[in-house]
């Protein structure tokens, strides 16, 4: 009985995976080829796939989608930092640097990348590299801190480097 139940549950669990297989077969080759040139293929593919516009986008469009994803993660990151600061006054001082960094990402580097991708892509590369630098700084300042922030931070860092390589292909 237990074995039957396990088998059924296994089937239930595997079926979303088979749907996943089907979805991946439909991921267009531009996404796959473009993502192969980045330092994090899986992150690139999954981020693009989660945006419905990616299936019809050209490389510049894919770049914009990634910039949008970095923006979304950074916004979430800033929110996390604010909440952590409020919940944890002892952490507030250490978090203040990251807070400034994330504000800078959202107010300076993201707009630079968004504006440049459509115009002069090499400056978008600068903006995304700026984000990678800033999140690296944040990582360092948060060593030893128990929080979900480090993984968000790493995600923003890695995503921005993926975006840099996509922009390179646009030059």
């Amino acid at each position: 009985m237990l074995i039957n139940l396990s088998f059924i549950i296994l089937l239930l669990v595997l079926s979303p995976c088979s749907l996943l297989v089907k979805a991946q077969h439909q991921t267009n080759s531009l996404i796959l080829d473009t993502c192969k040139k980045t330092p994090n293929y899986a992150l690139c593919v999954s981020t693009l796939r989660s945006n419905p516009h990616s299936s019809t986008a050209d490389v510049a469009g894919l770049g914009l989608i990634l910039v949008g994803a970095v923006k979304a993660k950074s916004t979430a990151g800033l929110k996390t930092i604010s909440e952590l600061s409020r919940a944890n006054p002892a952490l507030k001082k250490r978090l203040s640097q990251c807070m400034e960094d994330y504000k800078m990402i959202l107010s300076a580097f993201i707009p630079e990348a968004e504006q440049a991708i459509g115009g002069d892509p090499k400056f978008a590369e600068d903006g995304m590299n700026g984000i990678a630098d800033v999140t690296a700084q944040c990582v360092k300042s948060l060593q030893g801190v128990r929080a979900p922030l480090p993984s968000t931070n790493k995600l923003v860092h890695d995503l921005s480097l993926v975006t840099v390589s996509i922009i390179r292909t646009m030059l």
Partner: protein, 651 residues
């Protein structure tokens, strides 16, 4: 998945909502499925885990090996971040400092003293914010004009790029004027981009520039001074029927920018060039016009080079094979060669080639196809981009401007509130001794800033020695130096088939028989920070000497977020010539010229210790066999930046 940079050294306890998941190679989609199932079936979680991993592996293996396979491929991916390689015809460049190993570069805690030291004393820069390409340089009614790409909103690039404007009597002391053109038309609302001036024989100034339209299409526009009797040319008018040129068929609307100065053809037409690309081939489109309002696109390309990518900021001008002066852009004939130059978008370097221009067939042919545009010589082996020349009718010289970007982090730029300088303007001459390259030299007006000369004669420096040079302060200097290697070593040193390359060498620490030797600039007393500018000689088969000229930034700063590359190239040295170098030190910019300007290197340097009173200069010889004799003149340089009443009208 995320193997290139791990966070395993962070000792925190991850929260159970999925922080661990990425490192197990499971994709987010299956991770969500796992979360739902976990809540649902606690007892069978082990079976589920097995099922999920099987499912993940199954899904990825029917794809192309995805994440699971990538985990072993990550180390190669690092190199992809660095450059796309020589095989694609683009020189290997590492614009970004490569991430080595797993540690992301931590940003350096810059203090405001170290940051404010970085501002230059005698290079052109606006008082704040971002600058890039020089635009429309010209001489008119007694004033030198410089326009430049400027962002009024911040210290990084932005889409509302406008034309900044400044004037000078001497190319060294500048007065800032109001912004000349802004993003106020549909055809340049996304950027008033780079352009060039043509001065007509009757003295009229015509400016052609690229606008990025409301739909980010690159178009060419005409502008001219509102009041030609105003020597300061403060107000500009945009031609009401702009744009005058839109991308032609077959040219992408994002690959059509930076029109050159025009020249007169034998038929009396005005002709100019716009760079572009077709696939990976850099090309130059040619247009003819009579009135700068209506244009004919010529059938042929002036020139094209496979594999070089987009040609930005194309420049095309004559040089005299025999004379000591520059030439007006329209000159051609016997004794004239033409320089073709392009800024390669792919690797952010400026390349030039010497050749012959035939105005009848409208083709330009390089003297040496192996050293063609984009694959041969560079104006400068350091940081030097989007450069542009103009003919200075005042002193009859061809003068070169260039954008010198920052090589620190954008974070620092935002903190210090500015980014970029222009190089010191350089005169351009044909090197008739070698016949195969140009000579660049700082305009003579920069010599006016010299003061407090110190002379060193015939200093002998043995291998391994470092000699401090007592010259007072070391942040603003003009250094000229001559080096001789002792003849005995040159003769006795064994021939080697060493292949030297500044970039991949150990810099000043890489000892050879006949090098490196030179100067340590922006060095502190303990040499914790130092920027060697040096020569390195290799004696090849047959006793041939090859000389390399390099600038080594690997120990230029203790900061971890600045460029630490070694730049440089081979420099031709003719029989009987001593090795000579001139170095302009101006805080965070150093411009070095070897053999009278045959090989030039512009550096950006950001020391944390070797600043203010602690910036010093040393002579060094790190060769294992050669003894060198050096003679130097070192001047302090006065500051050229000043505020004048013009700044009341500033942006």
């Amino acid at each position: 998945m995320e193997d290139r940079i791990t966070i395993s050294h962070h000792p925190y306890t991850p929260l159970p909502d999925g922080d661990n998941a990425p490192s197990s190679g499971v994709s987010p989609a299956t991770q969500n499925g796992r979360r739902r199932s976990l809540k649902f079936v606690l007892v069978l979680s082990g079976v589920l885990a097995v099922g999920l991993i099987m499912g993940a592996m199954f899904s990825f293996s029917t794809n192309d090996g995805g994440a699971v396979k990538m985990s072993t491929e990550s180390p190669e991916k690092i190199s992809e971040l660095v450059g796309r390689g020589v095989s694609e015809g683009v020189s290997m460049k590492s614009f970004r400092r490569p991430l080595l190993g797993n540690e992301p570069p931590a940003n350096f805690p810059w203090n405001s003293n170290a940051l404010s030291w970085q501002r230059t004393a005698f290079h052109f820069q606006p008082t704040k914010n971002w600058m890039n390409d020089p635009n429309g340089p010209l001489f008119y009614k007694g004033w030198y004009h410089l326009f430049y790409q400027y962002n009024r909103d911040g210290a990084i690039w932005g889409k509302k790029i406008v034309w900044g404007h400044a004037v000078s009597r001497d190319l060294i002391h500048w007065n800032h004027l109001p912004v000349a053109m802004v993003t106020d038309q549909w055809y340049d609302v996304n950027g008033v981009w780079t352009g060039s001036a043509t001065i007509l024989p009757d003295g009229q100034i015509v400016m052609l520039y690229t606008g990025s339209t409301n739909e980010s299409v690159q178009v060419q526009n005409l502008a001219y001074p509102a009041d030609p009797s105003d020597p300061l040319l403060i107000e500009w008018i945009k031609y009401p029927n702009n744009p005058v040129l839109v991308p032609p068929p077959g040219i992408d609307f994002k690959d059509f920018r930076d029109p050159t100065t025009a020249w007169l053809t034998p038929e009396g037409m005005w002709r100019f060039v716009i760079g572009s690309k077709l696939n990976k081939t850099g090309i130059s489109l040619v247009y003819d016009t009579v009135d700068f309002k209506n244009f004919t696109l010529l059938d042929g390309l002036l020139h094209a080079v496979h594999g070089t990518g987009m040609w930005e900021c194309v420049d095309f001008y004559p040089i005299s094979k025999v004379g000591e002066n520059g030439l007006d852009t329209s000159i051609n004939g016997l004794g004239v060669k033409h320089v073709m130059k392009a800024s390669l978008d792919d690797d952010r370097n400026d390349y030039y080639a010497l050749g012959t221009y035939d105005p009848v067939s409208t083709t330009w042919v390089p003297d040496n196809p192996k050293m063609d545009v984009g694959i041969g010589l560079r104006y400068d082996y350091g940081i030097y981009y989007a450069s542009k020349t103009f003919y200075d009718s005042n002193k009859k010289r061809r003068v070169l401007w260039s954008w010198i970007k920052e090589t620190d982090s954008e974070l620092s730029d935002i903190k210090k509130g500015w980014a970029s300088v222009q190089g010191i303007p350089r005169t351009i001459l044909f090197d008739h001794k070698t016949g195969s390259n140009l000579l660049q030299w700082p305009v003579e007006e920069v010599n006016k800033l010299r003061s407090n000369k110190t002379v060193f004669e015939n200093l002998e420096v043995n291998g391994g020695a470092v000699v401090p040079l007592e010259i007072g302060l070391g942040s603003q200097l003009d250094i000229t130096a001559e080096f001789e290697v002792d003849k005995k070593s040159l003769e006795s040193v064994q021939e080697s088939n060493e292949v030297y390359d500044c970039k991949n060498s150990m810099g000043a620490a890489g000892r050879g028989a006949l090098g490196p030797f030179g100067l340590l600039i922006l060095a502190d007393e303990q040499l914790l920070e130092q920027t060697p500018i040096y020569f390195y000689i290799v004696k090849g088969s047959g006793g041939d000497l090859k000389t390399f000229f390099c600038a080594d930034h690997s120990r230029s700063s203790e900061a971890t977020d600045v460029d630490k590359e070694i730049y440089g190239s081979i420099v031709p040295v003719l029989r009987g010539e001593k090795l000579t170098v001139r170095i302009l030190v101006d805080h965070s910019i150093v411009e070095s010229f070897s053999q009278g300007g045959r090989t030039c290197i512009t550096s950006r340097v950001y020391p944390t210790k070797a600043i203010y009173n602690n910036a010093k200069v040393f002579l060094f010889n790190n060769a294992t066999e050669a003894k060198i004799t050096a003679s130097l003149n070192i001047w302090q340089m006065n500051t050229a930046q000043r505020h004048s009443h013009f700044t009341e009208l500033m942006m």
